[in-house]
Each structure stands twice: as structure tokens, then as C-alpha cells.
Subunit: 140 residues, 2 copies
Amino acid sequence: MKKITIGEAARQSGVKVPTVRYYESIGLLAAPSRSEGNQRSFEPADISRLAFIRHARELGFEIEAIRTLLTLQDDPHQSCASADAIAKARLVEVEQRIRSLMALKAELETMVEGCGHGRVDQCRVIEVLADHGQCTHSRH
Amino acid sequence: MKKITIGEAARQSGVKVPTVRYYESIGLLAAPSRSEGNQRSFEPADISRLAFIRHARELGFEIEAIRTLLTLQDDPHQSCASADAIAKARLVEVEQRIRSLMALKAELETMVEGCGHGRVDQCRVIEVLADHGQCTHSRH
DNA sequence: CTACATCCTCTAGCGACTAGAGGTGCAAGA
DNA sequence: TCTTGCACCTCTAGTCGCTAGAGGATGTAG
């Protein structure tokens, strides 16, 4: 069996080397066996687990949510209701965030368009920031 | 002249009390004068400044960007090109973030819809997370 | 005078890493 | 065999923008 170094594991999974160590330190990844010289030696399963974590992080799941998803993955006979709930909750969060960012975008556009590119005392950017009452939407 | 306590300043500006002290500590707000008993005494101008900061934070501007915007506001004869650039940069960020969240939303919807609500070994949520290749978009 | 709210400073913690110091392991070329 | 040089090791501290808590002082109303 070939030894997979942390660098190789990082390359294959797309997770950075210090981050791999960090995941191990918080117990998201089991501590791998070590070489004679105390260097980590990973299994192919560890690479999959790291890729899983990375993908979930890219989708914005929090570490604790990922921890739950991983324990579910480890026991395939469980009901997937929790996984479903976690994904749904994340979806709601994302939708909410999109709505709020759209409002923000509109606000910023008004600011930028209104700016006459002159001096600060005529600048709409500064003006709008100073006076929330000028906002199109009262709630950001 | 009436003294404005930190609690009053917080209430009027919508910034929390510890956050007001934090802004002072990082030099975003000038240290106000103190009462005989060493309590902060704010001026109306401080309230405006706090409201400005709060509004900018709501719009997602970083502290350092706000610091620049505030120095611009302090000197109204300067060109507002910097303010303009900061707002534009923020707009680009927001647009990028929206695009990325939309892709994410699509991904999560596929995951959630595909889940048969059965056991983990048939769960599409877990499956998709484990295998990035199943994603509709290769880049999140 | 006595409650009690509000204020003060200081330190530590959050999440999810990232950076750096200071040292060791290992493989390949001269 | 030696040496170069990269990859690895552990540990601590820093990032951002606050937030929480300890432990004590001040201010105000009854």
C-alpha cells in the first residue's frame, strides 16, 4: 500500500495542507497513521472525506452541519431526514441572503449612478450613507 | 449642553453599546470627553457618525473602507472619486456574490428535490456532496 | 440611604481558517 | 556520501467584527 502524504491528500481533495491539519484537530477527520518519521499517511477514504467536506464548505454549510452530515454518511442505514433538513435550512438561508443582496445591489446602484463625480460635498455616495432616510428600502 | 451617555448614543444611532466602545478603540470614532465620574459624553455629531458607520456596515462595507469614507466625509472639498470607487467595488462584489448564491441555490434545490426521504444510502443530498461530478455547475 | 440600572476596563471567545517561527524528514543529484 | 532544498512537523498568534462575561464604579429615583 502506497502512502499518501498530506501534500498529496491536499492536492487530490482540493483542501489546503494547513486546513487538512485543522480539520483533524477539530475531529472532522480521523487522525491518520504516521510514518516512522512522524509524517501523516492518509488512506484513499480520507481523500473522499476531505472532498466531501470541501464540497459542503463550498456550498456554505457550517462545520457543525458538516459534522452531522458526515456521521450520517458513516451510517448509511439511518434515515436521511436530518440531511434533508440541513440542506433545506441552508436553502432557506441562501434564498434570504439573495433577497437581501438584491436590495443592497439596488441601493448601491442608486448611490453610484447618482454620483456626479465631483467633490465630496455633492457626492451621493457619502450623502446616502449619512442619511438612511434617502434609501429606497428602509430595511437592508 | 446636555450630556449624551453611551447608552443614549447607542439607542439613537442603532449601534450597540459595546460596539460603540469598539469603534472608539479602533479609532473609527474619536474618543469623546468624559464626565467627572469617567463616563463618556458624546456630541450630536458623534451620533451622526455612528449612524453613518452603521449604515455602511449594513451595506456590507468593510471597516477599512468605512474609515476611508469617513475621512472623505470629514473633508468635503476632496474629490469624491475614492468614495465612488469604493462603492463601485462593493457593487461588483455584491453582484458576484449574488451570481454565486444563485448557482448554489440551484444546486441545493436539486439536492433537496432529489431526496427520496428514505435512508441515507439512497439520499441524494449526501450523494451529491460526496461527488462533485454530479453537480449541475462545476464551479460554485 | 438604598436599590438598581448603567457605566467602566479588561480579557477571552466566536468561526474557519491563515501565517509564521523554528525545527525535522526525505528523496534526488553531484 | 553529502548536500541541497522542498515538504513535513508542532505551536502560537493573527485575521474580522464584534460579543460575552467578570468585577467593579457611577448615577439616579424613590
